[in-house]
């Protein structure tokens, strides 16, 4: 009766992955059957523009100005015999850009100082030397400024770059050297992120969950996650936490509060009850956490972090139909209406009943336990609670309301940054 297990690989996911992996170019050109095809994969944009400069004497760059008009630099003194319409047609042909304004010669001509071929030559000369210097972040031919641009980390790096330019014989005035912020790969909820914010993946021995929100409890800084995201649900065992995974430099805290599930007034006979599935962990020494911050995500369903939401209030009431959000390590940002309020919920496979919980119709999956639930209110968010359950199809989740979490017989009063300044 032994059977081979079939693995349900998600075809949709694989296809999506392939589509994303194929990438989208920064240059968006519409090709028509009449237009000659441009060998885009073989040529960089700078090479294309340099080729354009061979065909349009004095060409110094092309860009869309602040009003969306097509602007072209032509170097003063380098006389072109082409009419504006011919310049437009040449650009259209070389770039494979089927733009009516180019064909009609509706172009804004700007006086340039440097031919694009000259700029490219200098750029090719500088590029290998620049990246031998400490603190150089990027090099570019800026076609909107008809100059080279070099982004550096600080003033000292800028000075070194300028010295190098001089030694290579590149005119100083042809290069803009500026201090810029570092370019970082986009982090996801499953990466190491500091300072800690709500919505990130956390790990405790053998399991993965989501950090709910940072808080201060009885003067102790820490974070809240689900009670079932501890070594034992109910009771304190000093569960250690890492973010995102256990490693030598990722320890973030230790469980210090997780009230026991007990029989109490209103709890069915033979069952153990609490008003929230929540626990509190004390922040480890030296770990940076941002009180009041929840991970802000690029779009619904995504897990890439683009910034942070600030908690500016805590929900004092919940109304069926209100649209709330959650951010969790598996399904990222999801959103939907509250479908049921104050529901007493039995936890599958246990004697536990959670009292007065809310249901939300929104995506959830394994790993989202502990996610913060919130409502977006203009510039900030209102904290609604902590996600702890979901249905088998992953279309509905259950959360413990923030008011329940802060009951005196639960975690008690928490400072979440909802009022005052952080």
């Amino acid at each position: 009766m032994t059977q081979t297990l079939k693995r349900l690989a998600s075809v949709t996911s694989i296809l999506l992955g392939l589509i994303l992996a194929s990438g989208f170019g920064a240059w968006s050109a519409t090709l028509t059957p009449q237009m000659p095809r441009v060998p885009l994969p073989e040529e960089t944009l700078d090479e294309q523009l340099a080729r354009l400069a061979e065909q349009i004497p004095g060409f110094g760059g092309i860009f869309l100005d602040e009003n969306g008009r097509i602007a072209v630099y032509l170097v003063e003194g380098e006389v072109t015999t082409l009419s504006v319409r011919e310049v437009g047609a040449t650009i259209a042909r070389v770039l494979g850009w089927d733009e009516p304004r180019l064909r009609a010669g509706v172009i804004r001509i700007l006086p340039g100082r440097y031919n694009f071929r000259q700029l490219k030559e200098w750029n090719d000369q500088i590029f290998p030397h620049a990246f031998e210097l400490r603190g150089v972040r990027w090099t570019d031919i800026d076609e909107a400024q008809n100059r080279l641009r070099i982004g550096v980390e600080n003033e000292a790096a800028a000075e070194e770059v300028i010295e190098t330019l001089v030694s290579l014989g590149v005119p100083r005035e042809a290069v803009i050297v500026e201090e810029v912020e570092p370019i970082l790969p986009m982090l996801t909820l499953r990466d190491k992120v500091r300072p800690l914010v709500g919505g990130l993946q956390i790990n405790f021995p053998g399991y993965l969950c989501t950090l709910g929100f940072n808080a201060v409890r009885s003067g102790v800084a820490g974070f809240v996650t689900a009670s079932h995201c501890t070594n034992v649900q109910g009771g304190v065992e000093g569960t250690p936490y890492w973010q995102p995974l256990e490693a030598t430099d990722t320890f973030i805290g230790t469980e210090i509060a997780d009230p026991l599930y007990t029989w109490r007034l209103g709890c069915p006979r033979g069952r153990l009850c609490r008003y929230s599935d929540s626990a509190f962990a004390q922040l480890a020494f030296g770990v940076n956490a941002s009180l009041g911050s929840l991970a802000q995500i690029a779009s619904l369903g995504a897990i890439e972090i683009t910034g942070s939401f600030q908690i500016t209030a805590e929900a004092t009431r919940r109304i069926r139909g209100e649209v709330v959000n959650k951010v969790g390590r598996t399904t990222g940002w999801s959103q939907g209406p509250i479908t049921q309020t104050c529901v007493n919920v039995g936890v599958t496979g246990t004697r536990i009943v959670l009292l007065c919980q809310d249901f939300v119709q929104a995506t959830v999956a394994a790993g989202d336990s502990g996610s913060p639930v919130f409502k977006i209110n203009g510039s900030g968010v209102t904290l609604y609670g902590l996600l702890w359950g979901g249905n088998s199809s992953g279309t509905s989740f259950v959360y413990s309301p923030i008011g329940n979490i802060q009951r005196s017989d639960e975690l008690g009063s928490l400072r979440t940054c909802a009022v005052g300044t952080c």
């Binding site: 693995r7 349900l8 079932h228 336990s369």
Partner: protein, 136 residues
């Protein structure tokens, strides 16, 4: 996770006439330790379908699952056993008619992946007739 190194076995034992005991056994058939990421608590499920594939009953239906991910190591030869009872009802609690059905075991892994056994045939027999008393 190496699917080839695992096997699954479903046992379906009729308990009296009103329920079938279902058991999903997932076993490490390889000679080395495997680590499975189990999705949800509980991570297993059973699906009962008609022969045309229509879902009749699902063990997890209506249950609230704790959405936690568990990293579970499995030594060579070690087995995970998951059990449930089908009371021969559909998802609305109505008794299903006698006939042929099929059952599948499901083990949820890190979403969206899951392991699913091939369908296994089940026969639901008519309930035994009660003996009539003389004079009825």
């Amino acid at each position: 996770m190496e699917g080839q190194a695992l096997s699954a076995r479903i046992e379906a034992m009729e308990q009296a006439s009103r329920a079938i005991h279902l058991m999903l056994r997932v076993r490490n058939e390889s000679e080395r330790r495997l680590v499975l990421t189990l999705g949800g608590r509980p991570a297993y499920n059973f699906l009962v379908k008609r022969l045309d594939g229509t879902l009749v009953w699902e063990w997890q239906r209506g249950k609230i699952i704790q959405p936690i991910l568990e990293r579970r190591s499995l030594e060579p030869g070690e087995e995970l056993i998951f059990e449930a009872t089908w009371k021969l009802t559909d998802m609305r609690g109505r008794r299903v008619p006698p006939g042929e059905y099929q059952v599948q075991g499901v083990l949820n892994l890190e979403p969206p992946e899951k392991l699913l056994t091939d369908p296994w045939p089940l026969r639901v027999s008519p309930p035994p007739r009660k003996a009539r008393k003389v004079g009825d």
